[in-house]
Amino acid sequence: MDPDSSGLTAGAGTGRRPERQRGRRRAGLLPGFAALGSGLWFLLFFLAPLAFVWVFSFGRQEGLIDIELAWTLDNYLRALDPLYLDILLRSIWLAGLTAAVSLALGLPVAVGIAFAPARWKPLLLLLVVLPFLTNLLIRTYALIAVLRTKGYVNAVLGWAAEWLGLPFEPLPLLYNDAAVVIGLVYVHMPFMILPLYAALERMDRSLVEAALDLGASRARAFWTVVVPAALPGVFAGTILVFVPALGSYLTSDLLGGADSQMIANVIERQFKRANDWPFGAALSLLLIYAAFGTLALRPALARRWRGPR
């Protein structure tokens, strides 16, 4: 395919190859179409459904199936009850922990892939993405088989203990908050690794060589050269992990214990068992605002980190 005809490369292509006049004119139109397409997509599949949720959130459930559009604030007043705010804060904490653990585990992996020989990279990236192509429910059930009392982790620990002659009591790895965070990290890891890898791939390798030549230790070179270069990826990855983790409910439902309730579990129940769509809509919007707040943090964080330089 002619590289100039794709919306993605159009900008770069036109600058460097002025001799291709016709291609340039075509390329000039394409970003417009792309913008129109994504705008329509945004309108039809995001703003329009969200508008329904927004309108519902001011309604009142009348009887079993009717929602009266009362323009009442009652649902929001209920949603701002400390009970629900505490659950939201708890969810933010679990999602934040998920993002932090994903970053701690994902950064070494991304660095490893970025510095791997070129012919290995496609395979390594495929290995990161492959689990992601499996259904979320199946991956979560697989994790149950790994973590449960008679699961693989405890089996391996049991063999090790027997071999060492130590007493062994299976660890309760499943049905607690730790299991929820493990599940969320497992599911969202590609969202962290891929942006980190993209950022590192763009980095100028000679900077690392220069740092090493000028006498920096490997650790010093990593912290002063590689980590700052990865920062845009850190911000993007953190948000891409945090936002979906904040809204997840399946993981806490299947891996969580008696206490593991996330805000999305409460929302799900309003739409199903409680049959209270207006209240569920108000809670959903609260969650969406929390996610938007996180997105707004990104430019601020980026400014602060880039500031001194």
Binding site: Q61, G63, L64, I65, L83, Y84, D86, I87, R90, R148, T149, K150, P172, L174, Y175, D253, L254, G256, G257, A258, D259, Q261, N265, V266, R269, Q270, F271, K272, R273, A274, N275, D276
Partner: protein, 358 residues
């Protein structure tokens, strides 16, 4: 909640039986069906029909059944709430039958088109949630109870106390994760009616469960049988059919209905408003209520059938199984869950959110 018990070799007998049934039923007025295309959209629980039931129905009536599956009543209700997407027959549980009648979501039945209603046991012919059976016919029923691992429990845990008010099985027990069920059984333990809506009593039940929470391993999303089989817990609140299935896999697992009484559920067949093939749906309901057909289904899915004629055809291993048919005294203490109204649903749900957050 409605997983199959597994297919028994004895079911083979019914393959022949079903053929006889098909022949016997061929008197059905085909002319009455002439107005509708020979199709039926059936919305059912997973593994909740006989192996050959739908094929037999097609052989007998020429009507092709397309079956979709749902996982819980809430899903069914949420799907039909905004209008029937094209289903002819659904299988709601009793309190949802009541809800859907209240919301005018079920079509009144034409009893003259369902002569096999005569096969239904008298106790199921007139019920509180559907007076006179105007909107539904009974399909399967049973009590919810306690599944437990015999070798890890002291005797038979035949009281809700062991799950609600005791540290004996601390860290080894599970309740279900649905407000109405968990609060309902708490009311039974506290000596109140199952369908209590008094806010003070809801609060008292909430306190009871919050106090028990440190001893609970989890609120199980309807997988108590798996938790028992894998040794995660030794005692769990669960629906009877699920535990019967686990008992077939593991001799050490057993089932008991607590002496304080429990929740009696009944799944019913109904025709939702807006069904595109109501005549076919009536023919299907009548077919299901046939003795041989009902027996073949019960033999496969191992739930208690409310069909007296079908029960009479079934072997002692089924009719005499206390896990399927509880004793008279046990049944006397049980109650069906009723739809408690929107305000009560809200109270229950708020209490449940507090319990989970506590």
């Amino acid at each position: 909640m409605r997983t199959a018990f597994g297919i028994r070799p004895t079911r083979r007998r019914f393959l022949a039986g079903a053929g006889v049934a098909a022949a016997g039923l061929s008197f059905l007025p085909r002319a009455a069906l002439a107005g509708e295309e020979p199709r039926l959209n059936f919305y059912n629980w997973d593994t909740y029909i006989g192996e050959t039931t739908l094929a037999d129905f097609k052989a007998q009536s020429g009507i092709e059944v397309r079956m979709d599956l749902y996982a819980d009543n809430d899903e069914l209700f949420a799907r039909l709430r905004a209008g029937n997407p094209g289903y002819d027959v659904i299988v709601p549980t009793n309190d949802f039958v009541e809800r859907m009648i209240a919301a005018d979501m079920l079509m009144p039945l034409d009893h003259t088109a369902i002569p096999n209603m005569a096969n239904i046991e008298p106790a199921f012919r007139d019920v509180a949630f559907d007076p006179g059976r105007r909107h539904s016919i009974p399909y399967m029923w049973g009590p919810m109870g306690i599944g437990y691992r015999k070798s890890r429990c002291d005797g038979v845990p035949d009281s809700w106390r062991w799950l609600y008010d005791s540290d004996r099985y601390s860290g080894r027990c599970a309740l279900l994760s649905e407000a109405g069920t968990v609060l309902g059984a708490a009311f039974k333990y506290m000596g109140h009616p199952l369908n209590t809506i008094d806010p003070k009593l809801i609060e008292a039940a909430e306190r009871l469960i919050v106090a028990q929470k440190p001893h609970l391993r989890l609120f199980a999303p309807d997988n108590g049988q798996d938790l028992l089989l894998s040794g995660e817990v030794d005692i769990a609140m669960e629906w009877n059919g699920d535990i019967l299935q686990a008992m077939a896999e593991d001799d050490d697992i057993s089932y008991v209905v607590p002496r304080e009484g429990s929740i009696l559920w009944e799944d019913a067949l109904a025709i939702p408003q807006g069904a595109p093939h109501p005549d076919n749906a009536h023919a299907f309901l009548n077919f299901i209520l046939d003795a041989e057909v009902g027996a073949a289904i019960a033999e496969t899915i191992r739930y208690a059938t409310p069909n007296a004629a079908a029960r009479a055809l079934l072997p002692e291993s089924y009719t005499g199984n206390p896990g399927i048919f509880p004793s008279e005294e046990t049944l006397a203490a049980c109650e069906p869950a009723l739809y408690r109204g929107q305000e009560a649903a809200r109270l229950y749900e708020a209490a449940w959110t507090r319990i989970r957050a506590a």
